[in-house]
């Protein structure tokens, strides 16, 4: 059982005030991970003396189209991602990924910011967000800073968020014409399933039918979601007609093992990950072919 004081912030500045003045503050957004960890007395949950509820900060609930970015407030729920027209127009991959999360109850509570900060290896939004080169804006009483997600994530369930910082905005660079995106997830059942494995793949196929700027990010495959540069390199520059899919399948499995070493789950995940990447590329190739 935990003993803590419960705080509520209705404004960003109130939240920052608490974060600045108090120590050992745990932030509560949707609570879909945190409450479970409290219930489980999870070893992942560091000791905290305060629970700061930010879920009513209206300033953090927005989706806005800017010149170069789509900006998403950190308290946008998965349901809102699914229902938003800007998301559907610019980043349908996020919509698909959000649809695979938990159940309606979880999607109604859980937030994009929470999914990022919790930094689970199985976080459903992280692979697509990393593949989209999303950036996070972190605000503290001293000012704000911006990191790419790759910079932000530092380990399983670990980020570079400072104790006095609040994740306020997720900024996703808008994609030019010609980009394709795909998200796949394998669970042990059709809903309420933690990803056994997932894969986000974003790429551009240019007018010569050559793969460019591929971003390949598996979920639940590595200690925390990250790009697979070797596999990306193997895809980039290849013409759709020349790409050896089986070979890419082998490369991605090898790259996974190079990160994780051989684990008990490796025999399954290496085979299945190969299948997912092949499937995504096949879909891209057939789309490119029909253009």
């Amino acid at each position: 059982m935990y003993n803590y004081d419960f705080l509520t912030a209705l404004k960003i500045e109130d939240a920052l005030y608490y974060l600045d003045r108090l120590e050992k503050v745990k932030i509560l957004a949707g609570g879909t991970d945190l409450i479970v960890n409290i219930h489980k007395k999870s070893s992942r949950l560091p000791h905290f003396d305060y629970l700061l509820d930010i879920s009513n900060i209206e300033e953090l609930k927005f989706i806005a189209l800017k010149k170069q970015f789509l900006e998403i407030g950190s308290l946008i729920t998965h349901t809102q991602l699914i229902e938003d027209t800007l998301i559907a127009k610019y980043f349908p991959i996020l919509k698909f990924a959000a649809q695979t999360i938990g159940s309606p109850q979880i999607r109604n509570r859980g937030t994009i910011g929470g999914n990022i900060v919790n930094a689970s290896p199985a976080a459903d939004l992280l692979p697509p967000l990393i593949a989209l080169k999303a950036r996070v804006e972190l605000v503290s009483p001293g000012g704000k800073r911006e990191l790419t997600l790759t910079e932000f994530l530092s380990g399983p369930y670990q980020t570079k968020l400072q104790e006095n910082e609040l994740l306020t905005t997720i900024k996703i660079p808008l994609l030019n014409e010609g980009y394709l995106a795909n998200f796949q997830k394998i669970g042990r059942r059709k809903s309420l399933a933690i990803a056994r494995l997932s894969l986000a793949l974003v790429t551009r196929i240019d007018s010569e039918n050559i793969f460019q700027d591929s971003r390949i990010v598996p979920g639940s495959a590595t200690p925390y979601p990250q790009s697979f540069p070797v596999t990306e390199g193997a895809v980039n520059g290849k013409r759709t007609t020349d790409l050896n899919l089986e070979e890419i399948g082998e490369i991605i499995a090898k790259e996974m093992i190079s990160i994780t070493g051989k684990r008990w789950s490796t025999p399954y995940k290496s085979k299945a990950l190969s299948a997912l990447v092949i499937r995504a590329l096949k879909e891209f190739i057939s789309k490119a072919g029909t253009k």
Binding site: I186, K190, Y268
Partner: protein, 767 residues
């Protein structure tokens, strides 16, 4: 025969209060001065308890009492063998064993106090594999026994040695099934109230079997049965699961209630429920089958090993049902079956919907498909060559001559509805792409009710009140399947009245006639007969009374549409209410006890032969699947479930049973498994113990086949368990067709489908 109230999809009589949230479950009960109990459980799967120090916990403010084994007058309970410790005495035998129970003013206080109890253990090595338990050099888990064997049942027919000599093809295969959890929505709750209305102690709770619970509490307290009153509350699911675990909790709560003189509520949270409550038995099964080239079965040899865990619990009877039904519904001249249960230091295992049948059906129905493949024969054709018909002789030597053997009929209905024959051919062709479809079937016969396990009888009271309203009370309990509705329909049918005149009472062991346990899919067939007999006695009194009053022949009178009629005369003689007035005036007692004892059966344990059940039901399920052979994901497209039930009293409730059973069987087939390692349980909540959600529901078709049984009320038999037992086997056969690879271990999870074997952090459990 056309009925007015039975054989009709009448709305559930307890539906309104449940769907509106008005129904009170045990956790909703509050009493003045209520205390909350919390159990301290073992730290190890097997350990000696050196010392227990309660001082700090007792001194904690708000703590009223703490009990340990020495506070329980008789610490051993059990329905069959009394070996289950209510609280661990000197030794803990599994990870869920309780050591002490605190009663305090609040649940929070009780929860804090159990952490202040100091227990000194000496950790002991454990046995976690029944095969290891069976070895002669293994240590004794229960030192008062000769060996670790809980039970050994045998069935012998003909001469298998000779049979295999005659066989032209012999297959030997091994199969295994895992521990699974009942996963009822409502975790276990009991409230013990001391000295309430002349009882020493009254137990309220989510209790599947109020009389078994009363036996346990009275025996543990060493008091007579009439001092203990058990009242069942609405149950949020049980599936066989709220028996011994609830009895044990009831004893703990009762002892605390008597010690403090205050009511005590004991609630398991989900983790506690999964840690403490018994599971479905894991089985390891070796099958050997011999057949002719034409596909006629000649011999079968079967050996099944069940993991009983720490206590005997229901193992002796679970493995008995297995021994009777292990061949499946096939004519075989030579059979040799042995089923064994062994103690281990795993969580104990007991009753769960199916009760020893889902395991053996997974094995024998997988085996039939494997044999068909070897014989290059359609699995349907192989089955049809060997199934039971009227007058077939079963493996135990029973001639099936007292009811309609409906196997061929259920098969034909399921095959037709699912388009099995065409789809089987289609899916046998080479399929392009990663996603492959398959279709598979499984069939079964199942003995209704208890069989030779125990005396099989049930009682009911039908009591007509002064205003014509009716109270029904039976000893069998509503566990969610629709028993109250079905029994009320029977009374309404017999008395010719509307259902809204009837109020169905909760089971109260001080009022309701003891009827054994609500298990073995026996409620409709046993309890239904008892209710019908009670209602018929009331009817008889009414008819006699009216015949005398109006000078009519009693045998020409009948009750219908809230009135009494004479044959061939559409004019109502008098209304139901007028009849009741007559009875009130003339002082005629319009209440009756009905008592129904099942027809005689017998079982010769030594010879392994007998007539183990007085009747059987038959089922066939067909599963159609699509398997992603690149990721191991299975999509269940459609399940067709045809079940012969004798007669359906309420087709809507009955279909509900089929739908629920199929989904539960689907979970058993592809995802459910309580993961144990060295006696510890890994997945203690539903984030990791996965059961199907509504999104996993396939297209479901339930087919009811009716061939009235001479012994059933209106011919009705059973449905609860048959609906579950076939699904995993049908899915396994469909997946094997789709992938061309046979998986012989449940569940068919991602890893098994993709790799052919399971992966686990430590060891590979697959046989």
């Amino acid at each position: 025969m056309v009925y007015d109230k039975v054989n009709k999809p009448i709305r559930r009589i307890d539906g309104y209060e449940k769907v509106t949230g008005k129904a009170k479950f045990a956790a909703d009960l509050f009493f003045p001065n209520l205390l909350y109990g919390k159990v301290l459980r073992s730290k190890y799967p097997h350990a000696q308890i050196i010392k227990i120090n309660l001082d700090k916990a007792l001194a904690y403010p708000g703590v009223k009492a703490i009990i340990t084994a020495k506070d329980i007058p008789n610490n051993k309970i059990g329905v069959i063998i009394q070996d289950q410790q209510v609280l661990a005495q000197d030794e803990v035998f599994f990870i869920g064993d309780g050591i002490a129970v605190v009663a305090a003013n609040t649940l929070e206080t009780a929860s804090k106090a159990i952490n202040l109890i100091e227990v000194e253990y000496k950790e002991l090595p454990g046995i976690f594999d029944p095969e290891e338990a069976a070895r002669k050099d293994s240590f004794l888990i229960h030192s008062d026994r000769q060996n670790n064997q809980v039970i050994h049942h045998r069935l012998r027919k003909g001469d298998t040695e000779k049979g295999f000599q005659d066989a032209e093809i012999i297959l030997e295969r091994e199969y295994s099934t895992p521990f699974v959890e009942h996963a009822y929505l409502e975790p276990e709750v009991v409230v013990a109230v001391p000295y309430e209305q002349n009882s020493l102690v009254t137990i309220y709770g989510s209790i599947q079997n109020p009389f078994a619970c009363r036996n346990a509490v009275a025996s543990a307290l060493k008091v007579s049965l009439n001092k203990v009153r058990v009242i069942q509350n609405h149950l949020g699911g049980s599936f066989g699961g709220k028996d011994e675990v609830i009895s044990s909790m009831s004893v703990r709560a009762a002892v605390l209630a008597l010690k403090t003189g205050q009511p005590v509520k004991l609630i398991n949270n989900r983790e506690e429920s999964i840690l403490e409550s018994y599971k479905r038995h894991p089985y390891k099964m070796k099958y050997k089958i011999g057949a002719t080239r034409e596909g006629k079965l000649v011999a079968m040899e079967i050996k099944c090993l069940a993991d009983s865990g720490a206590y005997a619990c229901q193992t002796p009877f679970v493995t008995w049902r297995s021994v009777v039904q292990a061949t499946g519904p096939y004519e075989l001249p030579h059979v040799k079956t042995d089923t064994y249960g062994y103690f281990t230091n795993n969580i104990y295992t007991g009753a769960m919907r199916g009760y020893g049948s889902p395991q053996i059906i997974f094995a024998n129905e997988s085996l039939m498909d494997e044999l068909a493949q070897e014989l290059k024969m359609n699995p349907l054709e192989l089955r049809l060559k060997n199934i039971y018909h009227n007058n077939s002789i079963t493996a135990s030597g029973q001639k099936l001559d007292n009811h309609t053997v409906s196997l061929e009929e259920v098969i034909n209905r399921a095959i037709k509805e699912s388009d099995y024959i065409n789809k089987y051919q289609e899916y046998n062709k080479i399929q392009s792409g990663d996603k492959k479809k398959g279709i598979g079937m499984a069939i079964s016969f199942r003995g209704c009710s208890l069989g030779a396990e125990a005396t099989d009888a049930a009682g009911a009271i039908v009591a007509v009140q002064r205003d014509g309203s009716v109270l029904i009370s039976t000893g069998l309990a509503e566990n969610g399947m629709g028993l109250k509705t079905v029994f009320s329909q029977i009374v309404a049918e017999e008395l010719g009245i509307e259902l809204n005149r009837i109020n169905y009472m909760e089971v109260d062991t001080s009022v309701s006639p003891e009827s054994g346990s609500t298990v073995a899919s026996r409620s409709t067939i046993l309890g239904g007969n008892a209710v019908k007999l009670a209602a018929q006695q009331v009817k008889d009194k009414i008819l006699a009374m009216i015949a005398a009053k109006y000078n009519l022949r009693k045998e020409n009178l009948y009750l219908k549409n809230e009135g009494i009629y004479e044959k061939f005369n559409p004019q109502k003689i008098i209304s139901y209410e007028e009849m009741i007035e007559v009875a009130n005036k003339e002082g005629i007692f319009l209440s009756a006890y009905g008592w129904y004892k099942a027809p005689d059966i017998f079982w010769d344990e030594e010879a392994g032969q007998g007539n183990p059940y007085f009747t059987y039901v038959y089922g066939c399920q067909v599963a159609e699947v699509e398997v992603d052979t690149a990721t191991g994901q299975i999509e269940i497209l459609k399940i067709t479930a045809a079940h012969e039930v004798g007669k359906s009293i309420n087709p809507a409730c009955l279909k509900g049973q089929i739908y629920g059973g199929v989904i539960m069987g689907l979970g058993y087939g592809i995802m459910e498994e309580v993961e144990t390692y060295q006696g510890y349980i890994r997945n203690t909540n539903f984030d990791e113990y996965l059961i199907p959600t509504i999104k996993d529901k396939p297209d479901l078709v339930a087919i009811i086949v009716e061939n009235p049984d001479p012994y059933g009320p209106y011919g009705a038999k059973s449905i609860g368990e048959p609906s579950l037992e076939l699904t995993a086997a049908a899915i396994a056969n469909a997946v094997a067709q789709a992938t061309g690879k046979r998986i012989r271990n449940l569940p068919l999870n991602l890893e098994r489908v993709l790799l052919g074997h399971a992966l686990s952090r430590e060891v590979n459990h697959d046989v």
